[in-house]
């Protein structure tokens, strides 16, 4: 597979500071998508988006148009909530869109609001991104000033208010029902399912569409160029382009927009136009294909295409478009510990298995790294993990050892996927690199070192 040379869809203006102002944005074709939408009926816009088969870019990859179609007729008002709470480790692509092309997002929001008939739209931006706030706030204000938001948008009878909302630091709020709770001024704890989608019962118990920043940023292009142009890109099941953030042990870490489904991991990690490969003399040890919650992949998986319908059955996920590359210098035990600690720290505390299990795992693994491991710790951890995410847990196949892949997604004893996510790094690391864990266990020569209290949640 070769690298595609398609023009970028969502990141076309990323290096153009002029696009930050509405004049600059208009000059580059901005708000033409909105105007194209307003020239049609909302139902036609919805059909166009459905035809584009735009998959959600937040992590779950659910088709956006289908999600909108779940809104129960007549149960107004409907709300639109933009998920800009990007915080999956390894992920930083929405931040690029928020900070560098805020009008594109606002335009996407307006198109979606028009299609679904939203009474109000809320752009929930992660609290730790003040620059994104400033840029989006300014863009919204400019749109209002030009009559492109608020009352009678662009002279039509379509009206919608757009409110920019602050987050305040909680990874779990990226889960859409937790995001809604947070937007209601509550603790950001995921809601029970069913209902499985906020489209039925969402913000203020009303039907609500929650879409990711990148998802909505695709809409202006789709409305300008048509669904056919969009589906012409990518593969049968993954259309258009997608942003990938490639970080870790690569020469040129960055956020790259690539054609969806046709590009491979090898392309984005090694090609000079993208991450440019690993450091001199370094070998690839493992990589996380879709944010910290994704089971790890290994060198033999480099030629998988960036297509969710391929990566899922292969045992992992493209998730939030974050590829973290680990070379042969990586201490995978410490890497796993860091991610396990992350989930322990970010567990909202609602479900017992996640609240207690993630911290327990972090405590055990921390003790192992500090040289206090015990012989049965690894089995204990895997068993504890099974109680958060009942087996079989998804994993990549190892062709050379005859191990078959187990397809994504994971099972869970919890409400949301945060709990099972802790198992991804843990199981991936233990299963693939067990000798490295054994080496740590061997450090524990002094039995008095076991059971030392380990501070898990630092900095609180």
């Amino acid at each position: 597979m070769t690298v595609s040379d398609v023009a970028p869809i969502v990141s076309a203006r990323r290096d153009d500071p002029a696009a930050l102002t509405i004049d600059g944005y208009l000059a580059s074709g901005g708000y033409e998508g909105l105007r194209a939408a307003l020239a049609r009926t909302p139902a036609e816009v919805l059909d166009e988006v459905k035809a584009a088969q735009l998959l959600g870019r937040g992590g779950a990859g659910f088709p956006a148009g289908q999600k909108w179609g779940f809104l129960p007729p007549g149960k107004t008002p409907y709300y639109l909530v933009v998920n800009g709470d990007e915080s999956e480790p390894g992920t930083c692509k929405d931040r690029v869109l928020l900070e560098r092309d805020p009008h594109q997002l606002v335009e996407g929001v307006l198109i979606c609001a028009y299609a679904i008939g939203a009474a109000q739209a809320f752009i929930y931006i992660r609290g730790e991104m003040p620059l994104a706030h400033e840029r989006v706030l300014t863009a919204v204000a400019e749109a209002y000033e030009r009559g492109l938001a608020g009352r009678n948008i662009d002279g039509t009878d379509f009206s919608v208010d757009v409110v920019v909302h602050w987050g305040a630091g909680a990874y779990i709020v990226g889960e859409e029902t937790a995001l809604i709770e947070s937007l209601e001024g509550r603790r950001g704890m995921p809601r029970l399912k069913p209902p499985y989608f906020p489209a039925a019962i969402g913000l203020y118990q009303q039907p609500t569409v929650v879409n990711n920043v990148e998802t909505l940023s695709n809409l202006p292009w789709i409305l300008r160029h048509g669904a056919a142009a969009f589906t012409a890109l990518g593969t049968e099941k993954a259309h258009g382009t997608r942003l990938f953030a490639i970080s870790g042990h690569v020469r040129r870490p960055g956020v790259y927009e690539v054609e969806y489904g046709t590009t491979t991991f090898r392309d984005v990690i090694y090609d000079e136009r993208y991450a440019g490969g690993l450091g001199d003399g370094r070998e690839l040890k493992a990589f996380i294909p879709g944010g910290a919650s994704a089971p790890w992949l290994f060198p033999e998986h480099l030629d998988l295409p960036l297509d969710p319908s391929v990566v899922g059955p292969a045992g992992s996920m493209l998730g939030s478009g974050a590829i973290v590359v680990m070379d042969d210098t990586t201490d995978v035990v410490k890497a796993a510990l860091r991610l396990v600690r992350f989930y322990a720290h970010e567990s909202c505390g609602k479900c017992t298995p996640c609240r207690e299990g993630t911290t327990w795992l972090a405590t055990i693994l921390s003790r192992i790294v500090r040289g206090g491991g015990k012989a049965d710790d690894l089995e204990l951890m895997l068993d504890v993990a099974d109680n958060i995410s009942p087996p079989p847990f998804p994993r990549a196949g190892w062709a050379d050892r005859g191990i078959e892949p187990i397809a994504f997604p994971y099972r869970r004893t919890t409400i949301c996927d945060l709990g099972p996510s802790v198992v991804s790094p843990l199981r991936s690391a233990i299963e693939r690199f067990r000798p490295e864990f054994d080496a740590y266990l061997a450090l524990a020569l002094d039995p008095a070192r076991t059971g030392v209290p380990v501070e898990v949640n630092r900095g609180r």
Binding site: R187, L192, G349, T352, N387, R411, T413, V454, N457
Partner: protein, 831 residues
């Protein structure tokens, strides 16, 4: 066939669900966990509670559910049954998930069961013993918190034991509407706590202790008092107020140590208020009367004596020449007690001047003659009209039921009130009227042509369709009952289908009234005149004319026209709205007999005091605001020689040479059922059968045709004349608070300190106008008295109105009120 078609097209009445291999019919919409329980399969759980919303937090109730797409682990507290659903609650996968959750819950749970109050009745302990691992795999340090901390006067919290099930916090916000406890922090360091220095001072805090599935929340009055396996219990009814909450009375070593709420559908759903839950402490008080007292030689005060001496003295005093006899009180009594005293008064004391109310309620023939609604009917009404005191203060669990109906089921409430109440923020519309003007307010409400602002128009709109239930009581003791009666009469005249739920507060006041402890009324909701023939045949000669109510009795006593005054568990000096009249009456009465559990201000001046048994110490029945009859049961021995009131009545009658005709509770009930028309059909067998758990509502069809009655109140719309408002005066509102200066609170050590006192609440505008600062001590002058009070600004009080709670410690509203006045106006001045 046509019938079949019809049946098929209707919504299915049941759905077939297979749980652990057995297929049975479940109700559509029912949760799997509840359906399984009805089918006899108990799915373990910690966070789920049938009276609260599902949160799915603990994950203990995970089961395998197959709706046709293969089995999947699901929380059974969240999944509704569906036709053809197959549930496995104990399959390998389900068991493994449940075991895993149990282990997680124990990871940070301390092993202090031996010193934990919950030990022995702890769901977590029980689960662990039944299914848990023998040994913990957790070798790390557990989570630590300071333990325990007081989160209120009544509740202590041990955060180490807490499993974060959200029951207490959910109860506080969802059920009680007092979100004063909350989750704080996140993830593994989450804790339940209050805001600093803002305690969990909810009237309902004790419920959180009862529903806590571990020993994290403990009740201060119960801590370390007993172990569950040492407790004995009976099922009974709380008589602290008249809602009639079903309870379990638990004792250890012949002392009541705990009340728990029993969950019955029509009444309390398992909830109790804290006064009802912890008020039993008063029955254990060292101040209880344990033997009869008689007035000693002049100046010697009351001295202990024997029952025979005391009863002889009582009979001697009550039958002496010089005036008639009257009985005040009776709401503390059981129905059987009340019947015995009702009969005693008529046939042995020769008086119809008996009144279970103390000038603080509504006229008995009016209340008993109203078309009655149940609590369920009030909750399910299309519109509820509230013309009553603050229900959260006076009938707390009724407040919870209505709150649930409003917040979860869309009940529309129109509140008519003189000041903000706990219902104000919940009501669809809350309308204000000036004290005394309740009837004019209702007239405006019902008059489509009246000009009024949008909220009155909205209320009128609400009233225009559907069923209407009115919760009716005395909103303020500073306002005569007549204005409420006139308001109700208007409702009855204009809204044909309106029914009423009386908001009269005292324990068994409705039972007492219904059994004839009211002037002009005989047992079974019949008037003296209507029932004269029927009861004369059974009882013998009855008083010729209706007697006096409490206000009339006290006025007569003050004038020296009452020779014998019986205070039947009543304290007019504290409870009658007009203290000056009560004072003169006690002094003016020729001879006073008090029957009570404690000495109070009134009975201290009695000539004879007879010690009575109280709740938990006697058997019988009680009647709630709906007319629902439920049992009270004895669990402990009364102190000293205290005895049930009916026995005292029999003994007094005996000394008066009259045989009341019964010598047991069974015999009394048989007579009630036979004679009192409204109790017809409520047999003793029914009262001890299974239907009695929720209490028995007598047959609404009414008594057999040969009995008198049933009583119907015939509305007579009339004007109530209220004096014009004096621009310099404020019109007084005086309602009760849950915690007051009454013995039930004062003698319960953990409740005694909770009486909030009685500042004079005034609108800030009026305070400004009067030149009074918030918090300043002012002089309050009414037509009858003057006293000092602390003025406090309150935006919930309308302009022109002053609010002062009734019967708080110290001089208060009763000093200011003249029972003869329709309203009470006060002047407020700086000192």
């Amino acid at each position: 066939m046509a019938d079949d078609v019809t049946t098929e097209s209707a919504a299915p009445a049941t759905v077939a669900v297979t749980i652990d291999g057995t297929t049975f019919d479940a109700k559509p919409g029912e949760l799997v966990i509840a359906a399984a329980e009805r089918a006899g399969v108990y799915i373990p759980r910690f966070c789920w509670h049938p009276r609260m919303s599902s949160v799915g937090m603990c994950r203990m109730c995970l089961v395998e559910v197959d709706t046709g797409r293969g089995p999947a682990l699901q929380p059974s507290c969240m999944i509704e049954v569906a036709d053809g659903m197959v549930v496995e609650t104990a399959s390998d996968k389900a068991r493994q998930a449940q075991d895993g959750v149990l282990e997680f819950l124990l990871v940070n749970h301390p092993l202090d069961c031996p010193v934990c109050d919950k030990g022995g009745e702890c769901p977590l302990q029980d689960q662990t013993v039944a299914f848990g691992p023998g040994e913990s795999r957790m070798v790390e340090e557990k989570r630590h918190f300071e333990k325990p901390i007081a989160i209120s006067e009544l509740v202590a919290l041990d955060r180490e034991r807490c499993i974060l099930c959200d029951r207490c916090t959910r109860f506080a916000s969802e059920v009680a509407g007092d979100p004063l406890i909350t989750f704080i922090g996140r993830g593994n360091t989450t804790q339940v706590n209050t805001f600093p220095d803002d305690p969990f001072s909810s009237y309902f805090s004790g419920n959180t202790v009862q529903i806590c599935p571990v020993g994290a929340l403990t009740a201060t009055p119960y801590r370390f008092k007993a172990r569950p396996w040492d407790l004995e219990q009976v099922e009974s009814t709380c008589t602290t107020c008249s809602v009639g909450c079903r309870i379990a009375v638990q004792s250890s070593s012949d002392r009541v140590v705990r009340h728990l709420g029993v969950d019955v559908d029509p009444v309390n759903w398992g909830w109790l208020c804290d006064k009802g839950r912890f008020g039993f402490e008063a029955t254990n008080s060292d101040d209880r009367l344990t033997s009869p007292l008689v007035a000693g030689p002049a100046g010697a005060g009351l001295v202990e004596t024997s029952w025979s001496v005391a009863l002889d003295r009582a009979v001697e005093g009550l039958t002496a020449e010089g005036g008639s006899v009257a009985v005040i009180g009776g709401a503390r009594l059981t129905n059987e007690d009340a019947y015995a005293w009702s009969k005693l008064a008529r046939v042995a004391l020769g008086t119809d001047s008996v009144d279970a109310q103390l000038g603080d309620g509504l006229p008995a023939p009016f209340v008993l003659g109203l078309p009655r609604a149940t609590i369920d009917e009030a909750c399910e009404a299309d519109v509820l009209v509230l013309l009553a005191p603050d229900l959260k203060e006076e009938l707390p669990v009724l407040h919870l039921r209505l709150r649930d109906a409003i917040t979860n089921h869309g009940l529309q409430v129109i509140e008519l009130a003189t000041t903000d109440t706990s219902m104000t923020s919940l009501a669809a519309v809350s309308l204000r009227y000036r004290p005394g003007d309740a009837a004019s307010a209702v007239r405006t409400l019902l008059d489509a042509s009246a000009e009024s602002d949008p909220s009155w128009a909205q209320a009128r709109q609400l009233l225009s369709g559907g069923s209407v239930v009115c919760v009716l009581g005395r909103p303020s003791l500073a306002e005569a009952a007549d204005s409420v009666v006139a308001a109700a009469d208007l409702l009855l005249t204009e809204l044909s289908a309106v029914t009423f739920l009386p908001a009269l507060r005292r324990g068994n006041v409705l039972g007492a009234l219904e059994l004839g402890l009211a002037p002009g009324m005989l047992p079974g909701r019949v008037t003296l005149d209507d029932g004269r023939d029927w009861f004369t045949r059974a009882w013998g000669e009855l008083p010729a004319v209706p007697g006096l109510d409490t206000a009339g009795i006290l006025a007569a006593a003050a004038d020296g026209r009452i020779q014998g005054l019986v205070l039947l568990g009543s304290d007019p000096l504290a409870d009658f709205p007009d203290r000056e009249l009560a004072r003169r009456a006690i002094e003016g009465a020729g001879f006073v007999v008090a029957v009570d559990c404690f000495l109070n201000d009134s009975s201290r001046q009695a000539d004879v005091v007879l010690p009575a048994a109280t709740s938990g110490e006697k058997d019988g029945t009680t009647t709630n605001i709906e007319g629902r009859i439920s049992r009270v049961q004895q669990k402990v021995t009364p102190p000293g020689t205290a005895r049930a009131d009916w026995i005292i009545a029999v003994e007094l009658a005996d000394r008066l040479g009259i045989d009341l005709g019964f010598d047991s509770l069974g015999a009394i009930w048989a007579e009630i059922e036979r004679l009192a028309p409204s109790f017809s059909g409520v047999t003793r067998a029914r009262l001890s059968g299974p239907e009695a758990l929720a209490g028995i509502l007598p047959d609404p069809i009414g008594p057999p045709a040969d009995r008198p009655g049933p009583l119907r109140h015939h509305p007579v719309p009339h004007q109530v004349s209220v004096p014009p408002v004096d621009a310099y005066a404020l019109r007084l509102v005086s309602g009760r608070r849950l915690y007051d200066a009454g013995v039930g609170v004062a003698r319960a050590p953990h409740l005694a300190g909770l009486a909030p006192g009685a500042p004079l609440l005034v609108n800030p505008y009026d305070l400004d106008r009067l030149g009074v600062a918030d918090g300043e001590t002012v002089r309050v002058t009414s037509r009858t008295a003057r006293l000092d009070a602390v003025a406090a600004a309150d935006v919930g009080v309308p302009r022109g109105v002053a609010v002062m709670a009734f019967n708080q410690p110290g001089p208060g509203a009763a000093e200011l009120i003249d029972i003869a006045d329709p309203v009470t106006d006060v002047l407020v001045e700086t000192r």
